[in-house]
Amino acid sequence: MNVPAQLRYSSDHEWVRIEGNRATIGITDYAQDALGDVVYVQLPSVGTNVVAGASFSEVESTKSVSDVYAPVSGTVSAVNEALTSTPEQLNSDPYGTGWVCVIEMSDPAEADTLLDAAAYLELIGA
């Protein structure tokens, strides 16, 4: 299971790339593998305020639907519109072209509570 060392993780299986106040969010390789083939992503709207731990997006596979929880609080500043027509990028490239959105963090200190790669690997038992 691919768990890049430079990213942070939530216990709800989202990954987070921190660059200043910007947090880019996606779902982990483990999450996409558990979901199976993704056929639809309900993206949040740009400008939406999100609260850490609350659901703000849904990912649907042929098998089931899964909530995406905001790993940090803030305002959605960008969404990956390409997922509307090619949601399978969540499966094929979860840490790259399969990114979901960018959140401008309202409380950057929240990022410190996220898991590092070692802790996430332990969580998923890999």
């Binding site: 199976g36 083939d37 056929v39 639809y40 649907e60 042929t62 098998k63 639907v65 949601p87």
Partner: protein, 351 residues
């Protein structure tokens, strides 16, 4: 938990296994459900369906036993043919199980119930369960016969809804021209000891393995019912739109009186197909409304998913029987109204 004779084969192929009807079966292989689905529509796939039950009913009374119990009329077929039929609840005519009967030869029938309903069938018919003596491989798709012909040509020649007793490398198999995908193909019952070798020969011929995930999306596109969703307690064959399964010309079958009452009164709901807009999949048990008539659900979905071929959502739903094809509907998916319309089944026709 019960394990298929092909369990090791699936695990070595990297299959994701899931519990299904008391069996541990492959959900998907490495390529994933969408790939497997499209491979079946365009080429050929093989499913392990060993979890289906087999109950052998034989002897001079076998024909009468089946004919007096199950809904369909065996006089429409003959030895060497297969027939889809129902076992009904005597009290209300609801479908206890949907079954394929393989009429193997004169007084020998292999009755194939759904895995978890095998006991209902043996309770009704007796017979001897042979489920654990064989594996069943379903080879399905427009290329199924041509690819199968390279390793088992006699099986590839078994016609639609025909049944033949054949030999593969000296092993006695029963082969039927049946399936659950809406595509052409055959199902092969092979003794457990030879099952891995036959599986390997079929996949070596270029037939890709497919799991229960693709089996479900394929049967949904084909508008085929799944027991526990479109059939089950409280659901009659007439409500499911399967009146052709009922042999009204027979003097008796189990549940006939209850079903006759419904036929006289008319069904209060009918299973229909709904095509929804966009990729978002409708799911089972979503309320269905007539578009523009807010607040009043007129029915409910029984199955729903993304159609890999059509690239939009499709659902089966019980609706009032008088709604015309094309009627615009809304499917309430966890609070979001998905626009859709009633379409004729199947959603996807054979390749």
């Amino acid at each position: 938990m019960q394990y298929s004779p092909l369990d090791n084969t699936h695990r070595s192929l990297g299959a994701k296994m899931v519990p299904f009807g008391g069996w541990d079966m492959p959900l998907q292989y490495a390529g994933g459900t969408l790939t497997e689905h499209l491979e079946c529509r365009r080429g050929a796939v093989v499913f392990d369906v060993s979890h289906l039950g087999t109950v052998r009913v034989q002897g001079p009374d076998a024909f009468a036993l089946l004919q007096d119990c199950l809904t369909n009329d065996l006089r429409k077929v003959s030895p060497g043919r297969a027939q889809y039929t129902h076992l009904l609840d005597e009290s209300d005519g609801s479908v206890l199980d949907d079954i394929i009967v393989w009429w193997v030869r004169d007084d020998v029938f292999d009755v194939m119930p759904n895995a978890s309903n095998t006991d209902r069938v043996t309770d009704a018919l007796g017979g001897s369960e042979t489920t654990h003596e064989r594996a069943i491989l379903a080879v399905q798709g427009p290329s199924a016969r041509s690819l199968l012909a390279t390793t088992f040509p006699e099986a590839a020649n078994v016609g639609r809804f025909r049944v033949s007793e054949l030999s593969w490398q000296g092993v006695a198999c029963t082969v039927a021209g049946t399936g659950y995908t809406g595509e052409d193909g055959v199902e092969i019952a092979v003794p457990v000891g030879a099952a891995p070798a036959l599986w390997d020969a079929i996949t070596a011929a270029g037939v890709h393995p497919a799991g229960l995930g693709a089996r479900d999306t394929l049967r949904l596109e084909a508008g085929l019912p799944l027991h526990g969703h479109e059939l089950g307690p409280g659901i009659t064959p007439l409500q499911a739109g399967l009146g052709w399964v009922v042999g009204w010309d027979k003097p008796a079958f189990r549940g006939r009186e209850a079903l006759e009452r419904e036929r006289t009164q008319g069904v209060h709901r009918l299973l229909r197909g709904i095509a929804t807009e966009g990729r978002r999949p409708p799911r089972a048990e979503c309320p269905v409304l007539v578009a523009g008539v807010a607040g009043v659900a007129v029915g409910s979905t029984t199955s729903g998913n993304f159609s890999p071929v059509l690239e939009h959502g499709v659902a089966l739903a019980f609706l009032p029987p008088d709604l015309a094809d094309g009627t615009e509907m809304s499917v309430d998916v966890r609070g979001t109204m998905l626009p859709g319309r009633i379409v004729r089944l199947p959603f996807v026709k054979k390749a």
